[in-house]
């Protein structure tokens, strides 16, 4: 049987500061080695100062993944030499002397499959290595410590995945969950990294390291499975080994130097006292947690009668569900859900478009209200939305700029209808005998008003004029 297990490293990008100092957790905006201090540089004499907010957020992740949450958590040192590690040890968590990491075992349902979570731990991210020089002979390694000490949550699963599709579904659920909790922005470069272990029936376990995004994780698993199956079909033995993901060529490569069995000499980090996360604190955290995606979905369906599928899309994406939450009222909820899922999603379908989009909850509320009061047709609303996303102008401004307002004056509309009747005598005759065909005439009126006539009103007036 195919077995796939994941180790996911997720930066808590939305925190204000690093895990053990007050440098910024969002290091991406800085010049090289600018976001550093004695603590995250591990200077002699400096001590870690635990960011309590990081413990809270990591605990929330653990609770959201249904993990057990120990009442007392501790930090350990993982000792090894690497140039990106300022202290030559990493402060992390460990469960071999009893569960003391932020999360113990848990599980999450993916499709119909239960994926077991082994543990969740909070740790510091190392610095970033930058390689310069073309050939391997004159290559130099530079270190940027801006990232060093960034809070990282490691989520380890049991080898419960059976195929890459389940991995993808899990990753989708996980990114939505992280985003919904407001702890992390999975789209940021380097915010999500992973290792995977993959084995097929009769084969040894292969570890694939160094996967730099969720997108690549699925690809890496797929590649590795295909590679193993191809070996297997040719009756070549699959060796137990560590491979690295080459993100340029999108393949896994055997790690050239044999990965030594490193002895990390774990021991308790004495500079950080045990942290109590007792039931009272856990209760409080639960109450501070944002509503879960599934509960949101349920509410959208039951309270606003929003169709299941629409509610699903709307609730799982924090960007859209936040817009929805901040704009809807009892009476316009369905209309807003509609605008978001049928029109807005198409307009801002990439990260860049979302970030540059100028739309606010107020815009959405105005749009929905204007549609419902007949001030603007659905068709015009779509055009207005396009303009709003681009410019951020008020809806009223957009309506007058683009002349999108409905023809609300009945006499004006009757004049146009009369014109249509005189131009289309044949269609009028048909409509008299077969009421179905009247829609053709409505369409003609809409054409003349450039879609600004209210279709219902047009229909009613047309019927009167024909009879």
């Amino acid at each position: 049987m195919t077995k796939i297990g994941l180790e996911i490293h997720c930066q808590l990008t939305n925190l204000e500061s690093k895990l053990f100092c007050s440098c910024k957790a969002n290091y991406r905006q800085f010049e090289i080695n600018e976001n550093i201090c004695p603590v995250c540089m591990g200077l002699p004499g400096s001590l870690p100062r635990l960011n309590q907010e990081a413990v809270k957020k990591a605990t929330m992740i653990a609770m959201a993944l249904n993990c057990s949450t120990p009442e007392k958590i501790a930090f350990f040192r993982k000792n090894y030499f690497y140039p990106d590690l300022p202290k030559n040890f990493q402060i992390t968590q460990l469960n071999i002397y009893g569960d003391t990491s932020v999360g113990g075992s848990g599980s999450i349902v993916v499709g119909n499959k239960e994926i077991r979570i082994t543990r969740i731990q909070l740790e510091e991210d190392p610095g970033r290595l930058i390689y310069e020089g073309s050939s391997s002979k004159n290559q130099i390694t530079l270190v940027d410590y801006n990232r060093a000490g960034t809070p990282l949550v490691e989520i380890v699963t049991e080898p419960d995945f059976e195929n890459p599709k389940q991995v993808r579904e899990f990753l989708n659920i996980l990114s939505d969950l992280l985003e919904n909790l407001g702890v992390s922005d999975p789209g940021l470069e380097g915010a999500m990294r992973a290792d995977a272990n993959v084995s097929i029936d009769g084969g040894k376990k292969v570890e694939v390291k160094n996967i730099g995004s969720f997108h690549d994780l699925e690809k890496a698993v797929h590649f590795e499975l295909t590679r193993q199956e191809s070996l297997h079909s040719r009756e070549i033995e699959i060796a137990q080994e560590t491979r690295h993901w080459d993100d340029k060529r999108k393949i896994t490569i055997s790690s050239r130097s044999k990965e030594e069995a490193l002895d990390y000499r774990y021991f308790l980090e004495g500079d950080i006292p045990w942290v109590t996360v007792d039931p009272a604190i856990q209760e409080k955290l639960k109450s501070e947690m944002p509503e879960s995606i599934s509960s949101k979905k349920e509410r959208y369906v039951s309270k606003y009668n929003i169709p299941n599928q629409v509610a699903d899309v709307l609730s799982s994406d924090k960007f859209y569900s936040d817009l929805f939450e901040n704009s809807h009222t009892e009476s316009n909820a369905k209309e807003i859900a509609n605008i978001i899922t049928t029109d807005l999603m198409g307009l801002v379908d990439t990260r860049e478009k979302r970030e540059s989009s100028k739309i606010t909850a107020n815009h959405l509320r105005d749009l929905a209200d204007s549609i419902q009061t007949g001030k603007i047709s659905r068709n015009s609303a779509k055009n207005a939305l396009h303009e709003i996303v681009k410019t951020g102008k008020e809806l009223s401004q957009v309506i007058s700029d683009l002349d999108l307002g409905n023809v609300s004056d009945e006499s004006e509309l009757i004049t146009i209808i009369k014109d249509v009747i005189s131009e289309e005598p044949q269609a009028v005759e048909q409509a008299k005998s077969n009421s179905q065909t009247i829609n053709y005439l409505v369409g003609k009126v809409m054409q003349k008003t450039k879609g600004k006539a209210d279709p219902q009103l047009t229909l009613n007036l047309l019927k009167k004029q024909i009879e």
């Binding site: 002699p44 400096s46 001590l47 004495g270 006292p273």
Partner: protein
């Protein structure tokens, strides 16, 4: 200029206008220049000290608010960071390390207008108890310059004892403040773990070490403790002392106190002069109204082994960052692969540090941890249980600070195990987090003997009161230098 005054007397004299900070500092520097060649208490001297003292005098004259140290010259063990000055840990590895920030104790003392007259010599990275392991040469005992002054805060104790400063800060991982204080006839105090911030103290064994004052009198220790103790947001292990004033009530005495004499700290190997001094101290305390009786702390037998196992483990990790890439860079990386470079670079460490790093790589390693490191942790927790039981019955415990007298420089340097055993009486306070103090009590053949008192966690005030009472019972000769 009389340099042979206590910290509290110094403050009094400056406040009364009898002496100026500038004159006192200048005279102190002069003494350092004349005798430190012989003693080697200092690794570096603050060239700006006289100017700093002059500024403080100006503040005093113009009636501005002046910090409670009034320009008092203090020496600082060279493992505490003072911004923009060298902090070497007496190691080649940090020979050129200039700290870019102040340790918390340093900022607190700066606020109170102390002057850091110089950085004190020590065993490399505080590993040792003789100062012989300083990469820059040993300090000498001012009572007999052929003898070791103790360590690792040897320079601190020598500078205080030889009047090269008014007081000093050392650090105590297994006796490193108390041991040299005992050998040099100074007061040496290790507080309850967490009472003084370690931020800016270069770690050796962070789970048990503390910064501690070395002073001429117990009152001076209380005076400094008032300044440097308390919660520090930069050190998560600090404890809230509710701004305790350790000087008020220091005269409270020991009347009615119950004191346990630790049997395991006065075994056959103990020097007879040390035994008799301890007995004398006990009877003096009894004459002041205390009740003393012998008690047994069985785990003390294993304490040294546990101590070296735990400290080596932590040292192996704490010192891993000195890989010659970031500190002590003294030969280029070209031609080396990462691990081979580190291997060569780490030869920059001295023999004792190397020894402990090797032990520290071994005892917690997979396959050996159960036999060594985890067992040491068990001893530590049993010892803690034992001493907590003892403190249910006794207010204080007493023992010699060191079982032997200062010995000749070079005498034990090649016998690490013999050296380790000298720590037998001091490591218990570190392993259990309890406060302990060494009080100068006797001189035998011209060499000092200190008596150690221990108290329960956060009973530091009681400890200082008892130490003060004991100190008052003897009159000791002045250092012959």
């Amino acid at each position: 200029m009389n340099l042979k005054i206590s910290a509290l007397d110094y403050v009094q004299e400056v406040q009364n206008g009898n002496i100026s900070a500038e004159d006192f500092t200048a005279a102190t520097l002069e003494r350092i220049h004349s005798i430190d060649e012989k003693l080697h208490a200092f690794l570096s001297i603050n060239d700006n000290a006289v100017n700093q003292a002059r500024e403080i005098d100006k503040k005093i004259k113009s009636g501005q608010k002046v910090g409670s140290c009034f320009g008092m010259p203090i020496s600082i063990k060279d493992n505490m960071c003072i911004k923009n000055s060298k902090t070497t840990c007496a190691s080649k590895m940090l020979e050129n390390f200039v700290a870019p920030y102040d340790a918390t104790v340093i900022s607190k003392l700066k606020e109170e207008d102390a002057i850091f007259i110089g950085k004190a010599n020590m065993d490399e990275f505080a590993m040792g108890l003789t100062t012989e392991f300083s990469a820059f040469g040993p300090s000498k005992n001012p009572w007999n310059v052929d003898c070791i002054p103790g360590g690792s805060s040897g320079g601190s104790a020598v500078s205080v004892s030889a009047f090269e400063c008014v007081a000093s800060l050392g650090s105590d991982t297994g006796g490193s403040v108390r041991n040299p204080a005992s050998f040099c006839s100074a007061v040496g105090y290790k507080p309850t773990y967490g009472l003084i911030s370690r931020y800016g103290l270069i770690s050796y064994a962070n789970s048990i070490e503390q910064i501690g004052p070395v002073t001429r009198t117990v009152k001076d220790t209380a005076f400094l403790l008032n300044i440097i103790a308390g919660l520090d947001p930069n050190d998560n292990t600090t404890v809230d002392n509710k701004n305790e004033d350790y000087l008020t009530g220091i005269d409270s005495g020991v009347d009615g106190k119950k004191i346990g004499i630790i049997k395991e700290m006065m075994t056959e190997g103990t020097d007879p002069a040390v035994i008799s001094a301890t007995k004398d101290a006990v009877s003096k305390l009894e004459s002041l109204g205390a009740t003393c009786e012998e008690i047994s702390l069985d785990m003390v037998k294993y304490s040294v082994a546990a101590y070296y196992t735990i400290t080596a483990t932590e040292a192996g990790s704490n010192l891993a960052r000195y890989d010659n890439l970031r500190y002590g860079y003294d030969f280029p990386v070209e031609g080396y692969e990462f691990n081979s470079y580190i291997q060569k670079a780490r030869k920059n460490f001295g023999s004792e540090v190397t020894r402990r790093m090797i032990i520290g790589g071994f005892v917690p390693s997979a396959g050996h941890a159960g036999k060594y490191f985890l067992k040491a942790l068990k001893v530590k927790s049993k010892l803690r249980k034992e001493i907590n039981e003892a403190f249910k019955k006794y207010d204080l415990l007493i023992a010699p600070t060191v079982p032997i007298l200062p010995f000749k420089i070079g005498e034990k340097i090649d016998d690490p195990v013999a050296l380790f055993l000298v720590d037998i009486n001091t490591v218990t306070a570190n392993l259990t987090g309890k406060p302990a103090i060494s009080v100068p009590f006797a001189i035998s053949n011209g060499l000092p003997i200190g008596i150690q008192l221990l108290a329960d966690s956060m009973d530091d005030k009681l400890l200082l009161q008892a130490a003060h009472a004991l100190e008052q019972t003897v009159q000791l000769p002045e250092v012959p230098i």
